[in-house]
Symmetry: C2
Subunit: 475 residues, 2 copies
């Protein structure tokens, strides 16, 4: 039965015994209505194998919730009960939502600035490596992880995964009408691990790098898979739905398919987690109403403002090339360059994602398998994260042809990137006084200039690349 | 009278005495027809002050040339004579022409790859500094100089020039109906100095940075100035006509003005020197028939191929930002970054220009005043020049999503820029053998790999930025 007490934004789970014969994945309809005061939320349940039927729910309000099940079989129908939703504890700030058009926030109003990384299929690497990845994440600066539901077939990624999403027939092919609960249980387990580390799981529902058939399933299987996944995972507060990695490389899918996938997830997710889709070359139209934020692959972060203007949504450039030295240009930039892209993106009011692709004798590259980090950018990203979290939301304040300033109330951030002026004149409002700090984003130093500044302030600069200014209003 | 012997592509000059009263710049029409075998070329003459009238001509064929003058005053009319055009001597290869759509060549078929620099108003700095600039150029790698006819008013450029192009009235204003011959004599002198160093003078006819009125002259003055300049300078083989620096910032001019300027120069230049115009933001339409090559300000050299395709003319990116540390982003990139832009542009079949803008206590910045070079890019540009001159013309050969190759017959150049692959697979034709050299474009080293390569060649690379490959077919 249902747990009697569930933390706010925790996962309430109800398990009932039901029929194991036939095909429960297809034959059985089952779900529950959860009620709190005047509000009723309908939630799909799912079959978890061995005659067990589950429904999960993430309560978002403290107090008593009641529920009633519904099903086309009597064993699962019209069961009811209640549970108590208690206060959120510790680092539980609820799911992440869009905030002030271009930003994010936890549902309890705690600040959330996505600092993402990418380990596409870390969850398909077996216990030892997966544990190592989680250990690495404990001290890494990342609070969002891009990861795939399905395994990956690609250079450096030829290993067979432990689990598959469907029952495997004797001839080795999949029975697309029967999910493999062990596959999804493992996925949930890892999403829960991330949640416990304070990391959002930016979950990639489809991707093109496939030798098993996951990228070319028939529409009815795609749709059933999506509803099953949503039923299982929507009650995890740290889930984001990414329809695809590089959707535009999936030749078997049309734009109508992608629109339909979005609408399915939007319709059946009772908790309305964030939704986006990631491109290779051609952006999906992020203006469509079911897209909550932009998920962008692009190397030119100078365009962040143009994308903000175009889509009027948060801009997450979760792939801008990775620190590494592999043969492909998307995976062989320096730590300096990746750090530069982070600073450029963040200082323009966007959000940038990390990845690491160093050649490895065992083909364990962080970007897909996790493991340990080898690069020099994570320390700099941690430094940036501290600065971002200590500041206000970053939006454009004013720009001349020669200087872009961003920031918020009484707070400005200016980043010079590869440029290395020996001095710069910063136009500040005449009516206030400001302190100015010179930040060396690579050396990770912050030096406050003596005195305060007002009006057109001439700032002497070190004349080296990768310098930023942080400016605070003091009166 | 006329010199009796003139070297091919040298300057023949005929001087006649004529009226000094009235306004010879306006009142007198004067010129000559030069004839060699079946060919007649009509050339404008010009008034050089003190009752002296000159006509200049650059013969392009050896043997006897005859001439006859024509004028609306009898003293200058119907004078005739002849001179002998002798073989070109030494480093005289004639003027530069467009070659094979995207490239250049001297008229005697000697290779010419433009390696330009910029000293906008070096010719307005007085004898000492101008001499120093010429001394610097002797050992610099540059064979093209962007320079203005008119002086410049801008940051770091507030000094008054020695000469002005027009006669100055008592109230300090210009008499736009009377040129100042001393101004033009000095300009010619400097263009001749460059010629003697083997440097093309990419002469900028208008620019917006002005406090004297040169940028806002009435149309009839603009047009008279252009005809006067062409009459004086077209016989210098090293002249290129650049209608403007940043034409799109000159608010007093319309697109019709620019088109007219081109047509005037095209009509009256008997030697048809190269013609282009330089933008700030908006490109002039280089497809127009009077444009011989693209002159581009842009920082993204990856677009060279797109511009080649769009305009089907040589692409000269003569301003891609300068090595330096001034406050403006166009003048504060590192030597590494400028060298990278050079390599990217050249390896894609374009041509890139240099400039240097280091803060200086006396405001002597190479980019506008000349003087001496302080930066680290010129040595690397010299290294690149040797490689370019030792190779074939560079055009795109083949590209995959992950690798661009350029080059010509049996010759390939590949540049990785900021990317630093630990290895790369290079698709080479199966039917030939190739040698491969690894070039560190910053350290200026060339290392030939052992053996030869054919078909899909795996090349181990140092995994550092700024690496190029040079590939030669050996059978």
């Amino acid at each position: 039965m249902m747990t009697q007490q569930v933390e706010k934004w925790g996962t309430a789970e109800l398990t009932l015994e039901g029929p194991a014969e036939g095909n429960p994945f297809i034959d059985i309809e089952w779900g529950a209505s959860f009620k709190h005061r005047h509000r009723v939320v309908n939630v799909d349940g799912f079959y978890d194998g061995d005659g067990e039927y589950k429904v999960r729910f993430m309560p978002d309000a403290e107090g008593e919730w009641t529920y009633t099940t519904h099903s086309n079989v009597s064993a699962l129908n019209a069961q009811s009960g209640s549970f108590e939703c208690t206060a959120a504890q510790g680092d539980n700030h609820g799911p992440v939502r869009v905030f002030q058009t271009y930003h994010f926030v936890y549902e309890d109003d705690t600040s959330y600035f996505p600092i993402g990384t990418t380990c596409y299929v870390w969850n398909h690497q077996g216990e030892a490596l997966e544990t190592q990845t989680l250990e690495t994440l404990k001290s890494a600066p990342f609070n969002k992880m891009r990861m795939c539901v399905f395994p990956k077939h690609y250079t450096f990624n030829k290993n067979e995964p432990e689990h598959h999403a469907f029952e495997t027939l004797e001839d080795g092919s999949f029975d697309f009408e029967r999910f493999n609960p062990a596959f999804f249980q493992h996925l949930e387990h890892r999403i829960g691990d991330l949640r416990d580390l304070g990391i959002e799981a930016d979950l990639i529902l489809f991707h093109p790098y496939d030798r098993w058939g996951y990228s070319t399933m028939p529409p009815e299987v795609d749709d059933r898979y999506l509803r099953y996944l949503v039923a299982r995972l929507a009650a995890y507060r740290n889930v984001w739905w990414s329809m695809a990695n590089e959707y535009d490389l999936m030749r078997a899918k049309t734009m109508q398919d992608w629109d339909r996938f979005f609408r399915i997830v939007q319709t059946y997710d009772p908790h309305q987690h964030l939704r986006s889709v990631h491109n290779c070359r051609e952006f999906y139209d992020h203006n469509k109403p079911w897209v909550t934020h932009c998920s962008i692959q692009h190397g030119d972060l100078a365009q962040v403002n143009a994308w903000r203007e175009q889509y009027r949504k948060p801009v997450v450039v979760d792939e801008c090339a990775y620190e590494g030295n592999i043969q492909h240009d998307w995976g062989n930039i320096t730590a300096q360059e990746l750090t530069r892209r982070f600073w450029e993106g963040f200082s323009l009011g966007g959000y940038v994602g990390h990845g690491e692709t160093y050649l490895d004798p065992d083909d364990i590259l962080w970007w897909s398998k996790g493991g340990v980090l080898h690069g020099q950018s994570p320390d700099r990203i941690a430094f940036l994260r501290k600065i971002i979290e200590a500041g206000a939301l970053v939006d454009p304040i004013e720009a001349t042809w020669d200087l872009k300033q961003s920031g918020g109330d009484g707070y400005r951030l200016i980043y010079f990137g590869i440029h290395r002026p020996g001095f710069k004149e910063i136009p500040l409002p005449e009516e206030h006084d400001y302190t100015i700090e010179i930040i060396d984003t690579w050396e990770m130093t912050i030096k406050q200039l003596e005195g305060t500044f007002s009006g057109r302030a001439r700032v002497e600069l070190p004349g080296t690349p990768y310098i930023a200014l942080r400016i605070h209003q003091v009166d």
